[in-house]
């Protein structure tokens, strides 16, 4: 549970998540403290199928940790299981 103030973050969706959200990106206002909280908040709102344990996360084009804090104006990507090659 967060005691943070509200932040605005920009989220880009790829692959399965883009399909499930029906959008490629959006701005979101959130009070989530950590990236994991933020994902779970959005997941429950939009019924995403993948649990946080199956995902990775990137902030401002670098991989990040789920326990990292959410900062105002972060560009966030939730990374579904990859399948390159």
């Amino acid at each position: 549970m967060s005691l943070e103030g509200s932040k605005t973050v920009y989220i880009k969706y790829f692959a399965l998540l883009r399909d499930e959200r029906g959008l490629a990106s959006e701005n979101i206002s959130t009070e989530a403290a950590t990236l994991a909280e933020l994902y779970n908040e959005i997941r429950s709102r939009h019924d995403f199928s993948l649990p946080v344990e199956r995902m990775s996360v990137a902030v401002n084009d670098d991989f990040a940790e789920w326990h990292n804090r959410v900062n105002d104006k972060d560009v966030i990507v939730f990374v579904p299981p990859v399948a390159g090659g």
Binding site: F14, A15, L16, R54, A58, P81, V82, A83, G84, G85
Partner: protein, 165 residues
Amino acid sequence: MFSLMETDIAESPLRAAVEDERAGAICTFDGRVRNHNDGKAVSKLSYEAYAELAEKEGNVVIAEALEKFNIIRAAAAHRTGDLKIGDVAVFVAVSAAHREDAFKACRYIIDEIKLRLPIWKKETYIDGGSVWVNCQSCSSHAHKHVADKGRHSHEVARASESTRS
């Protein structure tokens, strides 16, 4: 050097990029679209990438290979967009003085590319379904994504051995 390419991967410039007078061995790998996956006939395949991070991470993988193995040069590229059967999805080339290093580094680069780069594969099958193939750690599951009665339903399909190339 790692790059994402929206059009056909031309192998010769990548191969040329690793040539060197000191190189006694060049190992290359290419991953191609097969006509079957997991026993199902594939009619269409597309790759989507989170480009900024994929290119950054691809170059990290190549830098790691240059650090870990006694190699001279390495180059790799990955396709995005729609591919057809036989198209090259990923290409890796490595030069080294000796073949042991060339083979090991080439294998390392393709393994790490498949494991770490934010690139996703959507397969469409002749029987109609389509799937975002999920092969993280090659032991996870693929979620079959089907439009169903106006909302999304998710059917879990085994991403078996056959999702690896």
